[in-house]
Amino acid sequence: VAAAAAAVPTRAGTFAAGVRIHGPRDFRETRFTGGYARTLPLAPARRLAVALRGDVHILAIEGFGSTSTADVTAGVQADILPALRAGLAARNVAGIARADSADLRVPLSADPTLLAGLAFRPGASTLLLLAWEKQLDFPPVARAGFEFAAVGALLLRAGASTAASGVPARLSFGAGLHAGRARADIAVEWHEVLGASPAFGIAFRP
């Protein structure tokens, strides 16, 4: 798996683009993403940001050929209180009218989805995240995350996500090192079926 992304803030808003490649050559999923976000100065003291994201998914299986699909996600984010931010998003809304939910040619990520999330920062060193997601074809999933600035530039993270039965289906732990313009993050996720998978990433702000 490999991924790369960049975001460019401009006066007219922030533009972003990325690519993500998953799987070996004989079964490869590739996703291209383009996004745009900006804040709306609608009313004083009420910060509201809107965003639009487009994804192109390409699935290639050696010997079978390849297929691709695209979907659009629209979202808004608002500061409810100084320490509380809420976000809402809807993905692939146009797909709700389709007849066959079991169409295997449609990637799972293109399933019509509603997402809602809350970010709560009770203090300078602590961040709590809650998210809720309902895909048309699947039971809802709730996620919770926690970030704590332990010492200096070191951040510690933990997260959990539910399955339909309500028991944690995924647990993850991670750490981040933020130094000036560069940051590095490591994480490991434990999944009920897939077991543990590690991840590593670096980011740089020019």
Partner: protein
Amino acid sequence: VTRRSTIARWGTAAIIALAALRPAAGQAQIGAAPPDSSAMPMDEVPAAIEAAGEDGVGDPEEELAHLASLRANPIDVNTAGVDELASVPGIGHVLAGAIVADRVRAGAFRSLADLRRVPLITTEALATMRPYVTVLDIASGARRRRPLHDLRISVMARIASRLEVAEGYRGADSARSYRGSPVRALTRLRVTSGRALVATLTMEKDPGEAFSDGRVGYDHVSGVVALSRGGALRRVVVGDFVADFGQGLALGRAGGMGKSADATRSPLRAGRGLRPFTSGGETSYLRGAGVTIAPLAFLELSGFASRRRLDATIDSVSGAATSVGGDGLHRTPAELARRGAVRESLAGGAAAVHLVGGRGDVRVGIAGYGAVLDAPLVPPARPDTRFLPAGRSTSVIAVHGDGRMGPFHAFAEVARAGESSAAVAGAGAAPGSGSEILVLARLYPAGFASAHGSGFAERSGGAGNERGLYVGARTAAPGGWTFAGYVDAYRFPWLRFNVPRPSSGSEALLRVDFEPRRWIRLHAQVRAESREAGAQSAGPAGAVVGALTRTTRRSRRLHVEFDASRSLRLRTRLESTVAVQGDIRHSGVLAFQDIRLALTRTIRLDARLALFEADDFSARLYQLENDVAGAFTLPALHGRGSRAYAMITVGPVAGLTLQGRLAATFLEDIVRQGSGADAVEGHRTRDVTLQVRWQF
């Protein structure tokens, strides 16, 4: 100035969106209100109505019409009585009594802000009631003396139809086929002059009804003229009207009221007396004339007579009616045969003495009626119908009383019908700072029934075969928190339809509202209901006997509303349900995102997308949807799928409002929606509504 007038104009348009009339007079008087007077958006449907719609109690459409008429013609707090004030959102019986008592003690209110001198009125209560009340100044007093000065006329036409053709329109089975088109058509003409004159004419055709079956034109026509004034002749109503007295055991008509998050107020009946019937409903009203006089300031006397045809099922052999009433639908030959099959002649009256002092008020009244049908009523011989009313004539009489003193109020009503007496009594207190409590007990024997009553009950259809105890409370905390809840335990002492033994149940709700800023409203709500339903059980020697099984339904909800600006509002809701019957457990979940966007000063968009998943009807989820002005939609969602709607409201010129709405439900995993004649092939249903309203 431009910005301000844009807002004012848009505010007016929003009011038009629901109100039957443009509230020019009211607006002018409330003009001095601070900007936060719009705490409740103008065309929102109150939570009480949402809850009542889910429970199938009352007539939410009528309650909407009542609120719209209040907004169009706000109540004058200097002349209104306790009943009128109590029917205003945010007031309730305790505050209504306190306002009247304060008025007697300290004189008229000079402005709405002056209401703060009443000890129990909080800022929140004042904000809630603001759109519905006014203080008439001298200039408008002069206008009041010339009642036709503010004459307003509005004409409304609405058509709605499902785009998919249902089974009943295909003509395959002639006995169950619908005779008419799938279009619902509603036309309403309304003439008002302040609160002094209300005249309406409503013509309606439901989907499936024909324009020429039995009569030419609309299936349902209803009209009324009502005159109200302050003197000895209080009110005259000619046409279709309703009668509301006391707690409604004998004569009453619940609007949207039942059990709701408005826990300390919605069980109470306002007892508004004789009033014009302006809802689109086709049942539960009287047709004739009524008059209310006040020969002495503290004495009110009402008399009324009604003669109308009611839908009924007639036994072809005996000629007796086996059931009277229904849903007003006349689409199939069988439904048309029931239409107007019996005639009810009714006469009734009421008297009330109301004494108001500087510390409180007390009222004692009596109300009743006698009615005769032109065919005897003989319910089918089943155990559960044993105590249902039978025969040609009925009479019901009730004595009611209520009083308020300081933060306390109490009320009671005892009614007698045939051989049975029913009673309801309760008391409440509002110790201040937004806290209230209400306790209400009801004792309705199986033999009691009043066809024109609607006392507080778990069962829809009014008082009878029920006893229960209800406790509701609410309190507010600093920082924008409000806590409200109720607990209700009840028992049905006799059998009910499909419940072969006396049964019991209980219900509880807890709701926390949080409004940290004027533009952010959150609430979390938990509701649980447990009751016994009919079941079959193995008896001795292989017999099957009727038994009871406990069914439980719980729902949890998280709801957020965010006004991003004056032109953009966002709403999000997450809700889940669990329904348990015996060993079977079903669950459901619903999420919606909702947007309202004022594009320009004359164009507004409303849209919502909901995803839902409920593995059985018992775990269904409700969501109240914005609809064209004066209407509402409350679909019960189950299965797995999505529902979306979009509505556009355009006000191109003053007084004219055009609305169009398209709603669609997509259900996965199934190829047929609905049942019987309403069944639709496919996984999709779409409903379109168009409405035009012109007022001048």
